[in-house]
Subunit: 386 residues, 4 copies
């Protein structure tokens, strides 16, 4: 173990994503023991000292900070992991890039396209390693979908559809702002479901099916006013509660996307489907270890959608885990992303999605919001490199 190259992590933010990333770092040694690089949990940062101390103890960080600038200033930090609300991503990333740190940034990259562009320029200029946590690419079933598509089994693609449905903000009593509900505060989040949920769908979609060319969208804010945690006042809600759009992909296929936090009965139902000339694929986060696959070349009388349980060693990432028939969970997508990041340090390849890739997703998000606001089609200007 002494021969491993250590990368000293400074984690900023101790919410849900702070936990999933920390778990990722902690699992590497156990499940990817052969990797040349290894994380060291050097520091974790959050404004609340008591909370961050408890977090550090729970997850094994060596030290704490209460000001993110202190993390970046430290010489003993190689990589900064940004898990804070969206409105802080840009400032932290710019500072980290300037300090020559590697950056692992939570999604969406930023609140706006402008912020995202600045951040991308900064990391590219600084030449620092960078990646964005669009974790669903590393769900084995989704990774397998990518392999199947790349193999050409689907032929010409006609349709791509995805949605991300939740139901946790239906009650008007849910507040906006604050630690638990900053995602409902437009100043902190930048947008509502578009940046929070559709950004995931868009990242996966372009990874699987190439660039999105233009979009036509509609958004809705069902609950117009909510109490703000910060002010205690009832304030106008600035985010999109729901967002629907259709689009053209560069390859000529049609896309259809929907996201909402008002779909009663769905907790986190991220589903995707892609229809090709010869075959189709479906996936659904609630049953994330299954991939459904239809192959028209099967003999006609026994042709049907296959429900593939992704648990075998020849399927992506699964040789790391248990035995056929035994599934993994949500957190494993983050473990895989950590492992791929550390593996990429060895190979020198970028760890996708990079800031550049996430910038393309941001372009789509911005075009979607613009389209909804102007009730018109918008070009995205995406330059997808894949």
């Amino acid at each position: 173990m002494s021969t491993k190259k250590e990368i000293r992590i400074g984690l900023i933010g101790t919410g849900l994503m702070g936990r999933t990333h920390s778990n990722g770092y902690n699992r590497m040694r156990n499940f990817f023991p052969e990797l040349e690089y290894t994380p060291v949990l050097k520091a974790v940062c959050s404004r609340n000292e008591e909370k961050v101390r408890k977090f550090a103890d729970q997850w094994g960080y060596e030290s704490i900070e209460t000001d993110w600038r202190a993390v970046i200033a430290r010489d003993d930090i190689d990589a900064v992991d940004i898990c804070t609300p969206n409105n802080t991503h840009a400032e932290i990333a710019l500072a980290a890039a300037a300090a020559g740190k590697m950056i692992l940034c939570e999604k969406p990259l930023a609140r706006t396209l402008e912020e995202a562009q600045t951040m991308t320029d900064a990391v590219e200029k600084a030449g620092v390693k960078n990646t964005v946590w669009y974790n669903y690419r590393r769900v084995p079933a989704v990774t397998l979908a990518k392999q199947i598509i790349d193999s050409g089994k689907l032929g010409r693609i006609f349709h791509y559809r995805a949605n991300f449905l939740q139901d946790w903000t239906i009650s008007p009593d849910v507040p906006q702002g604050g630690d638990a509900t900053w995602r409902l505060d437009v100043d902190a989040a930048g947008s509502g479901v578009t940046g929070d949920l559709l950004a995931h769908c868009i990242d996966t979609a372009m990874w699987l099916n190439g660039g999105i060319k233009d979009v036509s969208a509609v958004t809705e804010t069902f609950i117009k006013e909510r109490v703000h945690q910060g002010t205690g006042e009832v304030q106008k809600v600035g985010i999109d509660d729901a967002c629907l759009f259709h689009c053209h992909f560069d390859n000529g296929s049609l896309g259809l996307f929907e996201s909402t936090r008002y779909a009663r009965g769905h907790k986190a139902l991220y589903t995707l489907e892609i229809n090709g000339e010869h075959a189709s694929i479906r996936w659904d986060l609630h049953d994330m270890n299954r991939l459904e696959y239809f192959d028209h070349s099967d003999e006609s009388i026994v042709r049907g959608w296959r429900s593939i349980l992704i648990t075998d060693a020849d399927q992506p990432y699964m040789k790391r885990w248990w035995i056929p028939g035994t599934i993994i969970g949500y957190e494993h997508s983050f473990v895989h992303q950590v492992a791929d990041f550390f593996e990429s340090l060895g190979t020198g390849e970028p760890c996708n999605p990079t800031f550049y890739d996430a910038l393309q997703t941001q372009k789509v998000c911005e075009a979607v919001i613009d389209s909804a606001n102007t009730r018109s089609w918008k070009d995205t200007d995406v330059q997808w490199k894949g």
Copy 2:
């Protein structure tokens, strides 16, 4: 039986819908024996004499005609059932109304809004009984969905989504025009999936969730040229192969619709879902005897989507059929529509959807096509009466 009032049917068209309607008439006596009115299969009409004679023998029609005008001219015909391609609906319906016949017309009502308006005006002016075969309303699970929604169980509605996915025209070798493939010929069909498939989704949607106010759509024709059965020439394809749109309902909810014949793996996957404040409902034609229902008022630790098998006597139409656990099929939706039509003769109520109702669906279809052609939102001018 001698006391029943006979309605003498003249069926025009002997394709798939000619068969489903004929089966409907033939089943009434067996499964709805108490109805006061009863159909008599007086005449069936098709241009091919040999074919229509065989059809008459198979389905029990007393006589045949080879010119639809002859059917309308006959005094011994009370009701005209129009099962011909879309481009003939208007002419036949106008003549039938002028002759004072009841009219049962296949969907979509017409190729264009203009035709549909003329037809609706004609039946209203003539005061003849009229109905349109949007059969999916009479699938017991869908009828139950209507009852649940009307009971108020869902509360405020946020979302409605539906799609109708097929895959039978993916091969470029499928021709357009002719008996089997007139649905691919824009002159015969008026439109592609919009009139053929989305019209079903729209009719059900407005029945369940009220009028659609405005739409934003995109269409695509994936295969640009096909051989025409009539001319034998390769000709431009004029229909929409796929159509996607989002919309606002009058009640403030958002709608999302998609239809295509290029979704590999789906034969006739008509699905719908409606999300309310308190409860949600899903349905899918491939498993048409099931309704999925989520009720947020269930105790939280045991709350989940219920898969309701609609086979019991207290569920719509099911006391007519067999025993709990034993399902019915596609054809039964037509049997139910026939029975409801004949029952409405006794009550004097309209048999929904009427031409008026189908005209509203036509307005949405026309707005959808216009929206796609102009890449802009379109108001529908729907006046939904429910």
Copy 3:
């Protein structure tokens, strides 16, 4: 039509099976128009004159009888269809055979093996056409399962399992005896779930997987006493409420069977599964148009259970019905059996299952009951001809 050979049917019994069979006869002309032989609904018989008159009117029978002996005595009856409770099957069948009538008998063939043997001897001696209504063989998905198995795709068979779960007798207030609940009266039914439900499972199992050699069973009667409809008295319940058994098939595979009317939540859940060396098949009556199929020869990374929607023209019976994606129901299994019976009149082949085949099923049922009563393994003495 005038050229068809008419078979004059005398139906005895007007319960659920009287309805399914009558529907079968009525559908033949519509869906199997080419068959040389055709049924004529000559007479229907039930002890209650008012009821049978109504039934005759509803289903189109030409005449009524209130004594089954009268049906058999009539010269204008070619075939006797026995739909009465089990305790009358033997007497009617023996009389019908003696009168040289064709016999279509509801399942189970008889209450006891002895009765069944006598009946089989009688029809074989008389040389009359005979068949037993084990209708599930004619569900297209089950028929397709047979074709797949016969094709050798499964290889050596290891396991066969089936169950038939209901929940309609859980309440102690359900009576025994009488028109609706004779199945709970051991004198009328012979046995409980063994003859009513497991007999179906056994017939299908032997058709698909060959003879059952020996059995080890357990039965239970959960509700010990119920009011008898006939006497109005609370009486001991003589039937088996539940029956479970395992067995060896002649081919060396293991069988597992279960049936009950106390499985809360299941209306008529008949499921079967067969596991072979190379492939497996599953089916479930609640979703009867689907067949699940697993083929180990599929490429490993995309291998999974296929959900085959049996609606296409190249799948058994389905060219008779509608279009891909549109399903059929429970009643169609009886239509198919009627059609196969009439087709077999033309070919001169037996219409399976014959009395002989049903006798083999009876042997298994008797061995099962014996095994349960004696708490020991029993040989069945089945001679399966397939």
Copy 4:
């Protein structure tokens, strides 16, 4: 952290279970930070020094041993975790008990009832803490099932059924004996699927539904001879490849169990179902985060099986993990068992299942094998304490 009481673990065995247990210990600090007791990974033992050294490095063990006796002899070991093949459980456990160590033993407790009895006597006499890794009790959906049953929602129980189906030994080329396939060697394993798979089903069944009174079983060995890894010779296979049994529970309900490694298409399909008077429950390991629940008290027209996605904080163990809609995996059941074990150190309660509980399961297993061998019913003599 310094205030926690440390329990020094000595792990014996580095196979699959060695990994799942080690993962469990490593996750405790992250997900159960409040527990008073904490594991310290003091030593791991395996005969192959290179392999055990690598394992120790991967999982964070402080030291290694190559002889299990050395582990037990060490003063700095508080608890021995036995993850070796079944034929070594008894000897190690007896030694550990004699040395006053806590014991966590993999299932099945032993190869035979006699061994299991001796082991149970030993730990009870020594008064050492003991538990057996029947991990499926700690799958949140299964734990929830227990809560629902204990709440009385099901009422009187009629049926319990479970199976555990695999397909990994179908090929005759799979050897017996050795590290990877000792489960096929009767000397190492004691039995085949009965001890390996049915033991899980039996433990869960008795936990949920009480003691099993008597059993009637059948077993089969489909492949009669396999190469032995140890000798390199083709030898007779002594294990049961498949085992089926029915039984009576103490509460009067009927049980049905099946296990096999020859069910093509099933990797590790452990399913269970329990039917009560008022409600029923189903679960399936392949979709382990879902529980299906049918409640007859639901309004009849909207009554159906509920698919409950177990991901919310008010469901067992789930407040430890992520957010609603995001699932966990197989390994988490072991994490939960570790946590419950350490929590029980604080409370002084036993950590179920104890050796005593596992002994009862062993009684059923032994009766099952005896029953199959003698083709007769066997009493189990289970004294279930629950």
